[in-house]
């Protein structure tokens, strides 16, 4: 069974930084449709710092690196995204505390812990039209699969996030700023879900995993 070590996860995070920084404007524009237009900037501000600090971070364990990431989110990401992403990384860090590499099962548990933490932090549930509508099915899909082919897992979870964009598009948001505009959040994609899907799709491209995007926001 394949495992992921600190260096491999660092690499993935570095790709994530690039994705977030490159999409600053696009993510903010999406947030402008039913929100307040800061999602891209908030995230990119933090990930610019993460990108810069990643090389020098404590690499003694996966958990140590993720805890530092969580702290950088608390410090440099404003808006709802700071607490949400900060909480997610923190919970995943707790699961991977002291581990120099993580197994597929541990990885799945990390995602599960992040999902639970985010739900507790913001009170959102599935169907509230937040990035949890991507993360929850991703976690379920990871539980279903055995992890022998990480490429296949990546393609499968990207597909979940991709699907979530279109499946939630017509919903009315029940959490976050978008929920305060009532019916007018319907027929706009949720920027958080698009963000998660875009990150995963960029991982596919980076690792040479073949994936054909469906939602307009991915296939642009």
């Amino acid at each position: 069974m394949p495992t992921l070590n600190v260096a491999q996860i660092e690499q993935t995070l570095d790709v994530t930084c690039d994705t977030v920084i490159r999409n600053e404007q696009y993510f903010s524009d999406l947030d402008g449709l039913a929100g307040d237009g800061d999602f891209g900037t908030s995230l990119a501000t933090g990930f610019k710092v993460i990108k810069a600090e990643l090389p020098g971070m404590d690499k003694s364990a996966v958990g140590a690196m993720l805890l530092k990431l969580s702290m950088l989110c608390s410090k440099h990401v404003g808006g709802s995204s700071g607490p949400i992403w900060g909480t997610g990384f923190m919970k995943a860090a707790f699961v991977s505390k002291g581990l120099e590499e993580v197994t597929y099962d541990q990885l799945t548990q990390m995602v599960g812990a992040a999902v639970e933490g985010i739900m507790a932090r913001g009170g959102a549930v599935r169907g509230d039209k937040t990035l949890l509508d991507a993360l929850i099915p991703i976690h379920e899909k990871m539980q279903e699969m055995d992890g022998s082919d990480l490429g296949a897992v990546l393609a499968a979870v990207t597909a979940e996030a991709d699907k979530a964009i279109d499946e939630t598009r017509t919903l009315v948001a029940h959490r976050g700023r978008a929920s305060q505009v009532g019916a007018r959040s319907a027929n706009t994609p949720d920027p958080g879900i698009v963000g998660v899907a875009t990150i995963l799709y960029d991982w596919c491209k980076h690792y040479g995993v073949d994936y054909k995007p469906q939602a307009a926001e991915l296939a642009r």
């Binding site: 307040d36 410090k75 700023r177 929920s179």
Partner: protein
């Protein structure tokens, strides 16, 4: 982008440096956390803090001063401050009498302050958190995070700040926050969009002949988009939404605020006040105090909001008490 800015990334620190430069007798900053606090905090009195996205000036960092906030931190434009800035804000003014944390009801602000409050309490700081939600434009239901906190925030800060100056306890100051919030209602309207400096483009599009009724102070869509109407009709829409919601009724004494959203000049705000005062008289309300100007802006959005607060004798006294912030005329 038609703005007086340098590198947009420095917009918030630079304007905060300007606020401090202009008020160095009264205020000091902790730039690392985009935090402004009063000089000489009195440890025997309740401290009052707040912190939210930038772009609403004079709210929130410019509302720091004797009789108002004790400290406040700013996030980037329209984004809640990072968790650690909130935490440092509480810590920087934590008094023996305790800290009242006033949070406008946005999920981002709430989550950040929740985390910060947990951290501060874990260190033994005595505090209470209060959530402000005066925006009647939000059609509340079980499935949302509830109404937004907007210009009514001013009255919560003013009343709490005045009461804290008297040496009242944390519970007493908290109770006044509750009473103001329970009796204050706001509704906003936008004629134009606005441009967050880092975004560089308008936050929403709106036609040359359109207005957004019930807009949020971050440009969030409101109740509806309609053709621009004459000022008197606009005032009626805002007034009815606000008046009917509490409701305010004949015999009530109220404070009325016509708040400019940033791009609307003073004279237009008085055109609105002129009509709103007439409508209040028709309802049988007595306007005991009025406020016309910029209190909670949405960068350079053109438009206004109307706020009414139902007064009792204590609130009337608290509003009349002296206070001082970075906003001055003379």
């Amino acid at each position: 982008m038609k703005k007086l800015v340098n590198d947009p990334a420095n917009f918030v620190p630079e304007f905060m440096a300007g606020v401090i430069a202009a008020n160095s007798d009264l205020l000091e900053a902790i730039p690392e956390f985009q935090l402004i606090k009063r000089k000489n905090v009195d440890a025997s009195k309740v401290a009052i803090v707040q912190g939210s996205g930038s772009g609403h000036e004079p709210a929130h960092v410019m509302a720091v001063g004797p009789g108002m906030l004790t400290a406040a931190c700013q996030g980037p434009v329209f984004a809640a401050p990072p968790v650690d800035a909130c935490y440092e804000t509480i810590k920087s003014v934590a008094t023996d009498a305790g800290v009242l944390v006033l949070v406008n009801n946005y999920q981002g602000d709430r989550m950040a302050w929740d985390m910060a409050c947990e951290m501060a309490e874990a260190e033994g700081i005595r505090l209470k958190q209060f959530i402000i939600n005066d925006d009647v434009a939000v059609q509340d239901s079980l499935y949302t995070v509830g109404r937004r906190g907007v210009a009514g925030n001013f009255f919560v800060m003013k009343a709490c700040g005045a009461l804290a100056e008297t040496g009242a306890s944390l519970d007493e100051v908290y109770a006044v926050a509750e009473r103001v919030n329970a009796n204050v209602r706001t509704m906003g309207l936008a004629l134009t969009s606005c441009i967050p400096p880092a975004k560089g483009t308008p936050i929403f599009d709106i036609g040359d002949d359109e207005m957004e009724v019930g807009v949020g102070i971050h440009g969030e869509p409101g109740r509806e988009r309609t053709k621009i109407k004459p000022a008197d009709e606009i005032t009626e829409i805002l007034y009815k939404a606000v008046q009917s919601d509490l409701p305010f009724s004949s015999g009530d004494r109220v404070a009325m605020m016509v708040n400019g959203l940033g791009g609307t000049p003073p004279a237009e705000l008085y055109v609105i006040y002129n009509k709103a005062a007439k409508l209040a008289a028709e309802t049988g309300l007595t306007i005991a105090r009025n406020y016309v100007g910029e209190y909670c802006t949405a960068i350079e959005m053109a438009g206004c909001s109307l706020t009414m607060l139902k007064l009792d004798s204590q609130l009337e006294e608290l509003l009349a008490a002296p206070a001082q912030t970075a906003c001055r005329i003379f």
